[in-house]
Amino acid sequence: MRNEIALIIMGMALVTFATRFSCVALLQKTGMPVWLERWLRHIPTAILTALIIPALVLPKGQIDISFNNHYLMAGFIAAVVAYKSRNIIATLILGMGTMLFLRLLA
């Protein structure tokens, strides 16, 4: 292992840990203030959406709303199953199944 690469990896590890730990460290003494909690309440919904929508609508970095976008088509099926069943296994099987089916067709 080259020294300069090891150093860069350690630097990356350190700043990554800092982003993950900083807020917890800051609120260590005070606990979570009530006013802040109100603003933080919607973060889960916002982050989940930001993880899902781009992966389906722009799987290759460009907006692709067409039948050729397998992620969008399989995502639509998965969304319906997820909404109706609230079941991860059912959603995965039908979603991935749609994905596989579309791939075999293409």
Partner: protein, 243 residues
Amino acid sequence: MNAKQETLEQGCMESGRDFWAGAMNSGPILLGVIPFGITCGVMGLTAGLTSLETIMMSIFVFAGASQFVAITMFGAGITGFGLIVFTTLLVNLRHMLMGASLAKYLVKQSLFRQVLLSFLLTDEAYAVTISRIHQGGYSSAYQFGVSISLYITWALSTIAGVLVGSYIPNPLAWGLDFAMPATFLVLLFPRLTDRCSIVVCVVAGLISIAGVLYLPGKWYMIVACIGAVLVGGLMEGEKASEK
């Protein structure tokens, strides 16, 4: 056996159950992590890193997106410490929002657990952990179960990528990466119970699409999150003042 011992044992059994529940619930997402880990291993070697360096990066940094960016920079001949580390910081800034969102629960844990769970915090671990909070309350054992499964899978799939990756036809072309958005859909729907949450979701969706198009790297997540959270917070503020 005295009462104190009994509660202690009960507590241990409970956290054991939570740990395994977390490990099990991360299962579907692990499926989506494997092709990325393998690709990370392959890309590391292609960019001129040694096997050990590529694996060490996965073990110490444990942040997929920023590793891909750093490896791409190495491949392009960019090896400046400051530039790579600063880029890593920018790509991972979104974790601050997740840390803030979980801080309420984490500050009540021992410092060792805070550090360990923070080190292991990823998009995926966050998504699964907050769903458990939504359904049955926070459990640090559960978060650890989810996080450590993701960590081990990430490390092992990077090692697999380094060892045999070049024999596997492009793992990202299998469509397994669809496992993540599909799982997250199941985690998202139970949250959309009132008008405010639905608006937050729509705003986050629209901003994230625009963000992918016009912003570099993972900034779309930060901007979408802050934008949607502001709209949600303001809406609730209005509701409160109407009362």
